[in-house]
Assembly symmetry: C2
Homo-oligomer: 169 residues x 2
DNA sequence: GACGAACGTTAGTGAAGACTGACGATGATG
DNA sequence: CATCATCGTCAGTCTTCACTAACGTTCGTC
C-alpha cells in the first residue's frame, strides 16, 4: 500500500541478547534505521511533517533514558548523586540480591551515568553529570517545541473567534 | 542475613498485565513499596545514606520516563511537539503497523505526554508540555546533586594533596 | 601459599513489552 | 439505511528484561 515515507522505520527483527552486553539494554532495533536518518541539525533530507523524526536521539541519550526507566536504577543514581558509595553499601539499600544490584550498576555505567573507582577490594560508584547532558537537552527541546505547538493552537483559536466576530459584525 | 534496611525494596513478584491497562507500561512493582517510602521533601524518615531513596519518583514521572524509553514513542513525541497531527499521519511516518502506533499513542497519552482532540472521524494529537515537568525536575535535581558529588571529590583530593605537602614539608 | 572480603559474570526462569492480524466503534457521506 | 474513512481494541506471538542461584575474579591479610 503506497505509503508516504517521511522516514523509514526499518525493523530488522528482534535479536537475541548481544554477546558481551550486560543483562538489560540490548541495543534496540534502530526504529528509523539510524544510518539512514541523520539527527536533527545534521539533516541531509527535509524533515518529516512536524520537523522531527526518529533517529533524533543519539545512542548515548537513548541508553541513558532506557537505563533510567527502571525504578531501581533511578534509586541507585539518587543514592550516588551526592557522594560516591561502594557497591556493597548501595546493595544494602535494596531488597533484591546483590547480584541484581551489580547488574543494575553495570547498566548505569554502560549508559554513562556512573563512574567507577577502585579502592582495594571495593568499587566506589558516583553519578556522572555529563551522562545527563543529552537527556536534559532532549527534554529542553521537547519542552520548547511543545510550548510552541500550544501557542499556535491558542492563536489559531483566537483567529477563528475573531473571524466569527467579523462575520457577525 | 541481617541487612541494614535503609529502605524496603518490596518485590511482590511480577504480575500479569493488569486488566484495563493498555499494552506496555503495566504498573511496575513499587521497588520501595511506595506506600512505605515518602518522596524526598515529604520525608517522615531520615533519608538513606546519600540522601535519596527509592520511591523518590512520583508515578507520573515514572510513567513518562518509561514511555520515553521506547524510541518510537520519542519519535512520535517529536513529530507532534511542533504541531498537532492526526493519528493516521503520525502512523504514516513509521514502518510498523497502524495498530502499533495506536498503542504507542495510548501509552504516551496515559503517561500525560500527549493531548488528544477529536475532529469528526480524526483524532488529533499534540505534545503536552506539562507532562515533561516532572522529568525536567528529576534531571535538574540529579544534575545538581551529581555536580555536588564531583565537587566534593575534587575538594577531598585537594585536601589529601595539601596534607601530603604538609607531611613532607 | 591459603583464606576471606568485596564484587562481577554466567545461565536459566518467568514476566513485561512491542509487534501483527483480525475485529470493533464512531463519524461522515450518499 | 448502507458504505466508507478514521482509528482503537483484542488476542496471540515472540523478544527483551529483571531477577536468582551458582560460580568466578581480584585484592588484602595471615
Amino acid at each position: 500500500m503506497g505509503r508516504p515515507v517521511a522516514f523509514v522505520d526499518q525493523h530488522p527483527g528482534r535479536g537475541r541478547r548481544e554477546p558481551g552486553r550486560a543483562v538489560g539494554l540490548s541495543r534496540p532495533p534502530a526504529p528509523g534505521g539510524s544510518s539512514q536518518l541523520p539527527a536533527p541539525g545534521g539533516s541531509s533530507r527535509p524533515p518529516a511533517p512536524g520537523g522531527a523524526w526518529d533517529g533524533g536521539t543519539d545512542p548515548a541519550t537513548d541508553e541513558a533514558l532506557r537505563a533510567l526507566a527502571e525504578p531501581r536504577r533511578r534509586a541507585i543514581l539518587r543514592l550516588v548523586a551526592h557522594q560516591e558509595l561502594p557497591a556493597g553499601q548501595i546493595a544494602a539499600a535494596f531488597e533484591v540480591t546483590r547480584t541484581a544490584v551489580s547488574q543494575h550498576l553495570t547498566v548505569l555505567k554502560n549508559a554513562g551515568l556512573l563512574t567507577e573507582r577502585r579502592d582495594g577490594t571495593r568499587r566506589l560508584y558516583r553519578a556522572r553529570p555529563e551522562g545527563l547532558a543529552g537527556l536534559r537537552q532532549l527534554l529542553d527541546h521537547l519542552w520548547a517545541a511543545s510550548l510552541d505547538a500550544a501557542r499556535q493552537l491558542v492563536e489559531a483559536e483566537r483567529g477563528i473567534v475573531d473571524d466569527e466576530r467579523e462575520a457577525a459584525g
